[in-house]
């Protein structure tokens, strides 16, 4: 498993910025590269990995963040290989 090339801390953010910042950070790395996201239990933990998967990214790892406070998790997200096709409306 590839190691993360970037790290994002969204512990202080609320929806929708939790996913918005994650989505922008994924757009800044190359396809196949891995982003580590630090996030809180509750809404971020429920929604960010799920939305990433729905958008075609890979959730490589989802676990309690070692060395961090109780309730803090880390997710390793690999950017999708291909962008979604957008049809001109």
């Amino acid at each position: 498993m590839a190691n993360p090339v970037a790290r994002l801390d969204i512990r202080d953010l609320a929806c929708p910025l939790t996913w918005v910042r994650t989505s922008v950070a994924l757009g800044r790395i190359r396809p196949g590269e891995v982003l580590e996201v630090l996030l809180r239990e509750g809404e971020p933990l429920e929604n960010v990995p799920r939305t990433a998967a729905e958008e075609g990214h890979l959730v490589l790892r989802l676990e309690r963040a070692p060395g961090e406070a109780e309730g803090v998790w880390r997710a390793w997200l690999a950017r999708r290989a291909r962008e979604k096709e957008v049809r001109w409306p």
């Binding site: 929708p16 996913w19 918005v20 922008v24 757009g27 979604k84 957008v86 001109w88």
Partner: protein
């Protein structure tokens, strides 16, 4: 240049739209849009373009604010008599701190044009000027039952090929707001580069119901020859 945290916060929901993302938002920020004509759809179009993150707006309008312009929700009574482009630029800057809005300066080189003139004749002239410069443009018309928006990407059938006679009825504030906002949205799609090969189309709004059709080049129209290279 990547978006700042403040820009990501400001455009958060828009950044999630399919095909837009950070790159599209950066293209909007670097866009320089000339908004020409001073028609009734101008005020809503300007505010929506600024809200969407278009970086530079040049407002090209030779007239002064008239008492009826207050219905466009951009001016108030104290603006009556002032140059409308100057008052509009102030209102746009007040609506968004992320936009540069001004009257066109000599040598200004827009990347796209929004044509919002009071009559189809003026719209034809301004749209043709944009076509000859090879600039993508969107033309907004307002009439008593709604109006129409014509989208002309570079190389697409021109506005003159697409336009149809309007009803000639007096524009309404609701119609101006509807088609002005729609025109801004169409221009945002063009300027953000959402589609690799955008096509020309015309959206006609009649009593709130939109009807969209692809535009087609009229036989013999000069637009088939493409843009004229700038001297």
């Amino acid at each position: 240049m990547a978006l700042s945290d403040a820009e990501i916060g400001r455009f958060a929901r828009q950044l999630l739209l399919p095909g837009l993302g950070e790159e599209g938002q950066e293209r909007l920020r670097s866009a320089r849009v000339r908004v020409a004509g001073g028609g009734p759809g101008t005020a809503p179009a300007l505010l929506y373009l600024a809200a969407a993150g278009v970086g530079t707006l040049w407002i090209d309008d030779p007239d002064a604010v008239a008492p009826g312009d207050g219905a466009g929700f951009m001016f108030d009574a104290s603006d009556v008599g002032r140059p409308r482009a100057v008052a509009a630029a102030e209102a746009v800057r007040a609506a968004s701190g992320l936009v540069q809005a001004d009257v066109p300066r000599p040598g200004a080189r827009p990347t796209a044009v929004l044509v919002s003139a009071p009559t189809q004749e003026v719209s034809r002239a301004v749209a043709e000027e944009a076509r000859l410069l090879g600039l993508p443009h969107v033309v907004v018309e307002v009439d008593g039952q709604g109006g129409a928006v014509t989208v002309v990407p570079a190389g697409a059938p021109c506005y003159a090929c697409a336009v149809r006679p309007g009803l000639g009825a007096e524009p309404t504030p609701a119609g101006a707001a509807t088609v002005g906002a729609l025109a801004a949205l169409e221009l945002v799609l063009l300027a953000a580069g959402v589609a690799e090969e955008p096509r020309g189309r015309r959206v006609e709004v009649f009593r709130g119901t939109p009807l969209t059709r692809a535009t087609a080049r009229q036989p013999g129209c000069a637009c088939a020859a493409g843009a004229v290279p700038a001297p």
